[in-house]
Structure formats: structure tokens, C-alpha cells
């Protein structure tokens, strides 16, 4: 037994010596300068740290891996500079890579430990990296406990060492390329806890920090989204080449009447959409002062908060400071309008509802929006007719006032994929569309038009049958719309529906009522949808 213990001690001593000889590793927590090489580790907080390129453990507590935040960037020519202000811990995330990967899900599930090393050349630049895996063979290697190591990845691979070989390629030719002039120095190494090798990857891309890291939550009238990238927001921004992140939002559908008044004041115009507008609009959304709106059979006094000048983003810098931590960026909205329907948002929202599109966006150093390579966008609607924080507003940072109204919010699609089941079918090719002319009514102030659809196909078109008006003239709206499309492309087009099937040869009439304040013309492209499922 004593002999066995002694063998183990010798082995671990030798094993540790390998890492100790690796020396120090340099990293920084601030944004990586251009040209820096970035390495990323994901897994449990690193515990075994190796420092001092002359060999030996970390005597001065300077090893940056002590409080690693998941990334190590090494500025060109600064390979030997100590950086100690890394503060964030990384627990569990992973991302794709074009480089070599070792993790718990690697081919060899018995990998017990992984370590990462950087090598510096004589000029102080990073000359290479390597990823080493250690594997135990209790009772399986020559009849005794064994342990082996293998350089798994990097710009060169080495030969295995220890008692037993790894079932991985042994590329001696590659190993010889590691340091042809013999001047390289292993400058650092770090390992996660034994038995939990974590996930090591290189060649990370911005998409690795965006794919699947925005979560959505709807609670009554409030919709919340949280962007929690691997590492922290700083890491993600760094990789994505932006200064920070924010949200952008458009109002795609906002019928009249509603409580939103555009600037300037006075007199202010009632805000309507389409066409879609930013939320908040370039000059703000709401009048400075109290105004009144008549809807749902009564007059509502709308007292607005201060004008919002967050355009083109959803949050101003001041608001953003409250919505972002080091780890995550939150979006929250509780739009409220006394004129909305109050319907169950998961069913038919009615004409009186508001539709939005919200998406994550990068912000460059000049404060300008930067499109990100991965879409994190969702379409949603609100029917909430109560107040939020005692006020009404499309952009509403306050929580809803309980009991002040009915309705709520619902998500319509995420990244263009409908969340409400199969959409109605496009059956435009199966019908003829005969349009009547436009007739104006002075009493209503609206133009009417009768459109007749005839089923020219051999089969029956399942109801309801909807006539969708795509590309409707700007400034013109369909007064008696049954809603706007949100499931079929293009979204945001007003439509009217007739219940029931349309048999072969059968016709159905739609009476359209348009508001055209300028009376300068109405045009649109008809589209026909049929069948159950949202339009």
C-alpha cells in the first residue's frame, strides 16, 4: 500500500511539474484591442492555476485565471504583461468553434481534466496555444491506477505522455513544428476542477454569443426579454466588435383612435401605423402635456411623461444603465392604451391592438446602431387597455397597474417563425379578384370599394377566407380591417375576413372602407388567405 501511495505521489508530482513548467499566462479583462487573439473557456470556475514562466505555482497571486471571466485576450507584443483585474466567473455556457474542442461531451468521456496553455516567442508575442487533456485509468492501465496526458489541440499537437496512451491521434510531425527555433516559452496554464474538464474553444465568432441567448417571457401586459451572452456583455461586445448592446423596437400596427400623439406640440397628430415607426419616434412619441382621446365610449385624459428621445434605440443611455448589468441586458415593456380592445391576446386581438417588432442591436463607439450577424427579433402585440405606472404610453417602463384594464401581450413570432401554429394558406392563385371602383361618403369621410372573390379552382377553399391588402398606399388605412397579418408574409398588411368555405365557382363580396385623408388615390396588391390559422 505504501508503495502504491508513493507511486501516486510521484505521478502527481510529475504531472504537476508539467503544468508548473508551463509558466504564466497573460490575459486582460478589458476589451481586447484590435489584433488580439482571443481564447475562450467555458465551464466551472478554474481552480488549478499555473503561473510564473520560470516555473512554479502562482506566488504573487497574479495569475489571471484566478478570477477568469471566460476569455483571455492577449494583445500583440504584450505576451509577458501581467493582467489581474479579471473579475467575473464563468459557470456554464458553450459556443461553436472552428478550432479543436475538448469537453465533457468529447469522444472520450473519461477525460478528467483539461488545461490551456499559451506559448510566448522571444519577442513577447503569443506564438501558439495548446489544449491538454488528462485522463485517468483506474485499474485499467497495466493493472494499476494510471494517468495520461495528451495535447489535444492548438497549432501543434504533441505526443502523449503518462502511463497510457490516449485514443487520439499522435502527430509527432505536428509536434516538431511547435517551436522550431526552441525559443518559445510556455507562459501560462489553467485547469478546471478535476473531473469537470469544461469546454475549451478557440476561433470564437460573434454568432457564438448571440445564438440562443435571448430569453422571452410574457406575464399579462408585460413582456420581458433578457440577453445573457456567454461570459458577460463585455465579452460579447468585444467579440462582436461593438461598444455595447441595446434594443430597437418598431410599432407596426397602431390603429386610430389611440392615446399617442406625435410631437411637436401643439397641435400634435394622432400616431398611427402602418407605416411602421420607431418606438420611440425620432422626436419622441407623446405630447408634453395632457391631452384627451375619445374611445370605448368615453373621454380619456392622457398625461404623458417627459418626452422620450431614445431614438433610434429603445433605451436611452440613462435608461440603459438601469437595464444592463455586467452579465445581462434586459428589455421590458408594458404598453398601455385605453383605446385598445382588452381582448385575450392569444385569441383574436380585434382591430384595436398594437403590434411591435423588437430586436437586439449593437451600438458602435459613436452611438450608432450596428446590425448583428444573428437575428434576435420577435413580433408581438398588446391589447392591454389599462394603465401602467398611472399613465398610458406605448413605451412604458412602468409595471401595469393591477386591475386597471384587460387584455395583455403575446408573442407572434420569433426570428420570423410564427409561434401561434400553422398560418392560413395563401390561395391567391385559386381565385379571381374583381375590384369595384371607389365611392366617397361625405358623412363617414371614407371611400368604399366592393371586391368580389371567385373560386376558380376545382376544390373548396376552407374558411375563413381573408382578403389581404399588401402595399396599401402610404397614409391610407383600411378602416374596417379585421386585423393585420402577423403569421404570413408580408406581415403588417390589413385584411378582412369572411367566415365559411368558398366552394368551386362560388363568389364572396368584401366591402372595404378606406380612410384617405388626402384623397389622392388608393392602391394595393390583393392577397387571399384561407383556412384556419392566423393570417
Amino acid at each position: 500500500m505504501n508503495l502504491m501511495i508513493r507511486k501516486l505521489v510521484v505521478f502527481f508530482t510529475a504531472f504537476l511539474a508539467v503544468f508548473l513548467g508551463a509558466g504564466a499566462l497573460y490575459a486582460q479583462s478589458a476589451a481586447c484591442p484590435a489584433g488580439s487573439q482571443l481564447y475562450v473557456y467555458t465551464g466551472k470556475p478554474l481552480t488549478q492555476l499555473w503561473y510564473d514562466y520560470n516555473g512554479g505555482p502562482d506566488p504573487n497571486g497574479k495569475n489571471p485565471f484566478k478570477t477568469i471571466n471566460g476569455y483571455i485576450c492577449v494583445p500583440v507584443g504584450r505576451c509577458r504583461q501581467f493582467l489581474t483585474d479579471v473579475t467575473q466567473l464563468v459557470t456554464d455556457f458553450s459556443f461553436s468553434s472552428g478550432g479543436y474542442t475538448v469537453s465533457k461531451s468529447s469522444p472520450d468521456l473519461t477525460v478528467a481534466q483539461t488545461s490551456f496553455y499559451l506559448r510566448c516567442d522571444a519577442d513577447g508575442n503569443v506564438s501558439g496555444w495548446s489544449l491538454q487533456a488528462a485522463r485517468g485509468f483506474p485499474g485499467t492501465c497495466n493493472g494499476v491506477f494510471g494517468f495520461g496526458t495528451m495535447t489535444m489541440g492548438g497549432d501543434c499537437r504533441g505526443a502523449p505522455s503518462g502511463h497510457c496512451n490516449f485514443p487520439y491521434p499522435n502527430d509527432s510531425a505536428e509536434a516538431s513544428k511547435c517551436d522550431p527555433d526552441g525559443k518559445d516559452t510556455f507562459i501560462g496554464g489553467a485547469s478546471p476542477p478535476l473531473g469537470d474538464p469544461g469546454d475549451w474553444r478557440t476561433n470564437v465568432e460573434c454568432a457564438d454569443f448571440l445564438n440562443g441567448f435571448v430569453s422571452l417571457n410574457v406575464t399579462g401586459p408585460t413582456i420581458t426579454a433578457v440577453f445573457t451572452p456567454p461570459g458577460d456583455l463585455h465579452v460579447a461586445a468585444n467579440v462582436c466588435g461593438v461598444d455595447h448592446f441595446n434594443w430597437q423596437q418598431t410599432i407596426n400596427y397602431l390603429p386610430a383612435p389611440n392615446s399617442s400623439i406625435t410631437l411637436p406640440n401643439p397641435p400634435g397628430l394622432m400616431l398611427t401605423a402602418p407605416p411602421r415607426i420607431f418606438d420611440p419616434a425620432p422626436k419622441g412619441v407623446i405630447d408634453y402635456s395632457q391631452h384627451y382621446v375619445q374611445c370605448r365610449g368615453k373621454e380619456w385624459a392622457v398625461t404623458s411623461p417627459a418626452v422620450d428621445l431614445s431614438y433610434p434605440f429603445y433605451y436611452s443611455d440613462a435608461e440603459l444603465s438601469h437595464m444592463a448589468t455586467a452579465d445581462q441586458l434586459t428589455f421590458q415593456d408594458s404598453p398601455s392604451d385605453p383605446c385598445m380592445s382588452g381582448n385575450d391576446p392569444s385569441g383574436n386581438p380585434g382591430i384595436a391592438h398594437t403590434e411591435f417588432t423588437t430586436w437586439l442591436v449593437g451600438v458602435d463607439q459613436f452611438g450608432l446602431p450596428v446590425s448583428l450577424p444573428v437575428l434576435n427579433s420577435w413580433d408581438w402585440l398588446s391589447t392591454w387597455n389599462g394603465s401602467s405606472g398611472g399613465a398610458y404610453g406605448i413605451k412604458n417602463l412602468n409595471l401595469p397597474d393591477p386591475g386597471s384594464g384587460t387584455g395583455g401581450t403575446t408573442v407572434l413570432s420569433i426570428n420570423g417563425v410564427p409561434t401561434r401554429g400553422t398560418c392560413a394558406s395563401n390561395t391567391t392563385a385559386s381565385v379571381t379578384v374583381k375590384r369595384g371602383g371607389y365611392v366617397y361618403s361625405i358623412g363617414t369621410g371614407r371611400f368604399t370599394q366592393t371586391v368580389t372573390l371567385t373560386n376558380t379552382s376545382a376544390g373548396t377553399l376552407n374558411g375563413p377566407v381573408s382578403l389581404v391588402l399588401d402595399k396599401l398606399t402610404n397614409g391610407v388605412s383600411l378602416y374596417n380591417a379585421g386585423g393585420v397579418t402577423y403569421c404570413t408574409e408580408p406581415v403588417g398588411s390589413a385584411y378582412l375576413s369572411e367566415p365559411g368555405d368558398l366552394k368551386s365557382g362560388q363568389s364572396v363580396n368584401f366591402t372595404l372602407q378606406f380612410t384617405d385623408p388626402t384623397k389622392t388615390g388608393i392602391s394595393y396588391t390583393p392577397r387571399v388567405l384561407s383556412g384556419l390559422g392566423p393570417q
Binding site: V433, K434, R435, G436, G437, Y438, V439, Y440, S441, I442, G443, T444, F447, T448, Q449, T450, T473, T511, Q513, D516, K519, T520, G521, I522, S523
Partner: protein, 226 residues
């Protein structure tokens, strides 16, 4: 083969000429319109005539001329309100041209026993599938149409859709719908009576048609001589 080519060429020329003749024809229709206004409650009303451009291009391809107004004891009240390509007034004649999307005249009148006028309407069909429309309504003094049985909700008494074929619809007042002033009005639909030929080819069209036929005859004669 030479003969076949000659025949083909001649037929083509004839067809082209006929097509040209058809394209530039301007087929006007004439109607006398009579509206019984004797049952209207006392007071002032307005007549509302409109011509909308279906193409949305302000193509000015149709003209409506209204003339020979008769009020049978009533009278027109000046002045009219004119919109877009509208001109004239109810004391003489009115012209509506669809050189704007919305072309209309609204003018007050005091009703007599009936209101009559002559309607001269060109019938060129707009491109794009949406036709031009001529319509007539009667408004109460507050500027709101008398409710009619017009199912479109526009409350017209007469709607003429300038398509192919021409589509004339007349509607009576809706006796069961309260007007904007709270009363109920009974009024028959206007009577629209054709006057003269429905379509008159223009001289230029006849000239083109005649030229084509002459060419055809000449070709046949040449063939017979050979």
C-alpha cells in the same frame, strides 16, 4: 407562298387599323335621370356628384357632363364646392374629369317635386382592374348622406361603374334607417333612362376603319386581275 404572304400582310394591316380605331373610340352614353324629391321633408339639401379615378394615375380618360338641371319647383343654391377635376354648377352645367383621384361637386338645393338632369358619360375602361365610378347622393343640411339601400355603405342613390360592361345601380332611400337628424326618409330610387344611341364611333375611327377596308378591297382586286 407570295400570295399567302400578301394576304397575311393585308389582314394584319386591317386588324391593326381596326384595333387602332377601337382604342381611340370614345363611346359616350346619354341618360336622363329623374329623382322624385317630393317626399323629402322641408329644408335645404345638397346634391353630391362624384367621379373617382380607379387607375390611381389621374389618367383623365373619362368625362361626365351634367346638364339640363330641373328642380320642379325647387332651386339650386349657390355656390358649389368643387373638388379635383370638377367645374360648373347646378344652375347651368357641371363637368367632372378624372384628372384627380377624387373629383366632385357638392351644391345645396331646395327640393321641388322632382330633380332631373341629363348625364353624358364617356365609358373608357381604366387600366389596372379598378374602374372609374360616377355616383350621386343627396345630403342633409348637415352634410351627411341620406341613408340608402346602397350595400357598400356609401349611401349613394346612383352608382355607375365604368367597366366593361357599364354597370348602373340605383338605390332608394332606406326607410328604416334614421338620418343624421333622427328622422326617416322615404324616397324612390332615381329613374335612369337612356337617350339616343349607346355608342357613337368618332369620325376618326370611321376614317381608319374605311382605310383598312379600302386596302382590303384593293388587294382583292389586284389578285383577281392577276
Amino acid at each position: 407562298m407570295h400570295t399567302i404572304n400578301e394576304h397575311a400582310g393585308a389582314i394584319t394591316r386591317i386588324l391593326v387599323l381596326l384595333l387602332l380605331a377601337g382604342a381611340i373610340s370614345r363611346a359616350d352614353v346619354l341618360y336622363n335621370v329623374t329623382l322624385n324629391t317630393g317626399a323629402l321633408p322641408a329644408g335645404n339639401y345638397s346634391l353630391f356628384f362624384q367621379l373617382t379615378d380607379g387607375s390611381g394615375t389621374n389618367d383623365a380618360n373619362n368625362t361626365v357632363m351634367l346638364s339640363n338641371f330641373g328642380f320642379a319647383g325647387g332651386s339650386a343654391l349657390a355656390p358649389p364646392q368643387l373638388y379635383g377635376g370638377a367645374a360648373g354648377d347646378l344652375s347651368s352645367s357641371v363637368t367632372l374629369i378624372d384628372n384627380s383621384f377624387f373629383n366632385a361637386i357638392v351644391q345645396g338645393f331646395t327640393p321641388g317635386s322632382q330633380f332631373t338632369y341629363r348625364l353624358d358619360l364617356s365609358t373608357n375602361v381604366d387600366a389596372g382592374g379598378t374602374p372609374d365610378v360616377f355616383a350621386m347622393s343627396v345630403l342633409r343640411a348637415n352634410g351627411v348622406e341620406i341613408p340608402t339601400l346602397d350595400s357598400s355603405g356609401a349611401n349613394t342613390l346612383l352608382t355607375i361603374t365604368i367597366g366593361s360592361p357599364l354597370w348602373i345601380q340605383t338605390f332608394s332611400a332606406d326607410p328604416n334607417a334614421a338620418t343624421s337628424t333622427g328622422d326617416f326618409i322615404t324616397m324612390d330610387a332615381p329613374v335612369v333612362t337612356p337617350v339616343g344611341p349607346a355608342a357613337v364611333p368618332e369620325p376618326s375611327s370611321l376614317l381608319l376603319l374605311g382605310s383598312g377596308l379600302a386596302g382590303c378591297v384593293r388587294l382583292i382586286r389586284r389578285k383577281l386581275n392577276q
